[in-house]
């Protein structure tokens, strides 16, 4: 219990530090999307000053940080510099798309990862090199290539599934598989390594000696690997739920990653900040859940400082 409380406090610290650092880094720089936009549209200096003042950009930096953190505590993430839209609303609109995609991809990654990891570690015949190659390619191939190939094959040549957009169930199959493949490779790699270690552990050799079937042995071994697999899965969850910029760009889907890329390209700092904060929060939360799950699966992890 105390360990969980301490982890929670640590996580809060990291979150607060991330929020302040993000704010300082993004504000310390001269120039912002709003000023650029106004200068380009030919606005006079007075207008620019007035707009900056109405958004609080002329205040001292410390006041701005304090104001931002205070707003954060109320759930207020500020407004976009470019169209004055609250960042929170933009995030709320984008979240359902990202959550569905990330959730499905994580499912694909977990099931695929355990399968391919087991195949890479335990099969004897031709399956083994294939599984290893799948892991190696999954870890090395950029999502942009896999996504493009998937569109060419399944959307253009075979015409089975739509290659872009969002809305129906059909629209999510390709992006979720593409995204899930990379996670499956990462989880598979960890699973294979963990299984490899467990199979040389004395208790498993003893179990084999007592004549347990290979299926029963695998169940034992996978149980022993569970904490490792959970940690790897939660790391992937942190990445996936934080938005999936590349996949969303390839399949022309709305979502958090898309929001971030657009804001970054237009130097809309409050938006970048809000989305980044969401990502950091999700990753910290996922790591926390992962630690708690691992501790509940493996008693040895409970008392570790």
């Amino acid at each position: 219990m105390r360990a969980i409380a301490r982890a929670l406090i640590d996580a809060l610290w990291a979150g607060l530090l991330a929020a302040s650092l993000l704010f300082l880094a993004l504000r310390a720089l001269p120039g912002d999307g709003l000023t650029h936009q106004l200068i380009e549209s030919g606005a006079s200096d007075d207008v620019i000053q007035a707009r900056r003042a109405s958004l609080g950009l002329d205040q001292p930096l410390v006041t701005q940080v304090a104001g931002y953190l205070a707003g954060l505590a109320r759930g207020d993430l500020g407004v976009s510099l470019l169209d004055g839209r609250p960042v929170r609303d933009a995030l709320y609109d984008a979240l359902p798309h990202t959550l569905t995609l990330a959730g499905l991809a994580l499912g694909v990654g977990l099931v695929g990862g355990i399968t391919v990891g087991t195949a890479a570690a335990r099969t004897q015949n031709a399956v083994r090199p294939v599984a290893r190659l799948a892991i190696a390619v999954g870890l090395s191939a950029p999502t942009a290539l896999i996504g493009t190939l998937a569109i060419v094959v399944f959307a253009l040549w075979l015409d089975w599934l739509p290659g872009s957009g969002a809305g129906t169930i059909g629209h999510i199959v390709l992006p979720a598989s593409v995204l899930g493949w990379h996670s499956a490779a990462a989880i598979g790699q960890v699973t294979a390594a963990a299984l490899h270690d467990v199979y040389s552990a004395p208790y498993l050799i003893a179990a084999r000696g007592r004549g347990l079937s290979s299926r029963r042995l695998l169940v034992h071994a996978l149980r022993a690997c569970a904490p490792t697999i959970v940690t790897a899965t939660m790391l992937q969850a942190g990445f996936l739920f934080g938005g999936t910029a590349i996949t969303e760009a390839i399949f022309a889907r709305p979502g958090v990653g898309r929001l971030l890329v657009d804001a970054a390209l237009r130097q809309d700092y409050p938006m970048v900040q809000g989305v980044a904060l969401w990502c950091a929060g999700v990753a910290i939360g996922a790591a926390l859940i992962g630690d708690a799950l691992s501790a509940s699966l493996d008693p040895r992890l409970r008392d570790v400082e």
Binding site: L145, V152, L156, A245, L260, C279, A283
Partner: protein, 264 residues
């Protein structure tokens, strides 16, 4: 097979090819409007893109550029991590706690999100992407350095050196560094592989220098627009990235080191 015994062989061959090949191919920027989207063939071994540019030349030059920017980013990450750790070693003990807190905070951001923030700060450009890629991979390197240092300190001879009155810096350089070196080198390779993917991802999203420059991530993006009629345009840079990263990973995959990285 030679690549079973010498696991670095594919990587070395690939790097040599990418370094030498630019002397044997044409101009990656020359456009030929009449030859646009030519399929792979005698004139263009890898086909041509929408502006009639030679995909082979662009892939080769793009590969060279990828090698250099990933190398520069790795240097930033490794050099930065060593500097930070060096500062922590010679300053009072409290510094390490702050470094760990900072590392953990930076690790909380997904790599691409962190990269996008840095790119926003530097307002794009080739060096902006290199700096972003380097900084993204800094925190993981610091963590590995920290972990391996902690375990290296458990050694008896390190304790003995301290008991004999060796200073912090002397202990670090003469006693800890030799133990950590294999891990640090392996992690530098991991960083290099990651840097290739990160800079390609940023290029794909539209960051990193002028639009016409041959850059693998950017070429993948260009290929997306013509993939219905010319799938070879995204294929060449994509396969290039995959082969390069795979060969780096393969070179790293020598026994224990790999297993240790899996555990972490």
């Amino acid at each position: 097979m030679i690549w079973d015994r010498h696991r670095a062989a594919p990587l070395i061959v690939l790097v040599l090819v990418l370094l030498v090949a630019p002397y044997f191919v044409g101009d990656p920027l020359a456009t030929a409007p009449s030859m646009q989207l030519t399929p792979p063939g005698f004139a263009y071994p890898l086909g041509s893109d929408l502006l009639g540019r030679d995909m082979l030349a662009r892939t080769v030059y793009g590969g060279q550029r990828t090698l250099m920017s990933a190398g520069a980013a790795t240097a930033i990450a490794v050099g930065g991590a060593l500097c930070l750790t060096g500062i922590v070693v010679v300053t009072p003990p409290g510094g390490r706690r702050w470094l760990r807190l900072l590392t953990r905070t930076l690790l909380a951001l997904p790599p691409l999100v962190f990269g996008l923030i840095i790119v926003t700060l530097t307002s794009g450009g080739e060096w902006g992407v290199i700096a972003a890629t380097g900084l993204v991979h800094l925190a993981p390197y610091v963590r590995v350095l920290d972990t391996s240092e902690t375990s290296a300190r458990q050694n008896g001879h390190v304790e003995a050196a301290r008991a004999l009155g060796a200073g912090e810096w002397r202990v670090w350089r003469a006693h800890l560094l030799p133990i950590m070196l294999p891990t640090l080198l392996a992690q530098a390779g991991v960083t290099f592989a990651g840097a290739i993917l990160t800079s390609a991802a940023l290029g794909f999203l539209g960051f990193g220098g002028e639009v016409s420059a041959p850059e693998w991530g950017r070429m993948l993006y260009d290929g997306r627009q013509v993939l219905r009629v010319a799938p070879w345009v995204p294929l060449a840079p994509g396969v290039g990235i995959t082969l390069l990263v795979m060969s780096v990973n393969y070179a790293l995959e020598s026994g224990e080191r790999r297993v240790r990285r899996w555990r972490e």
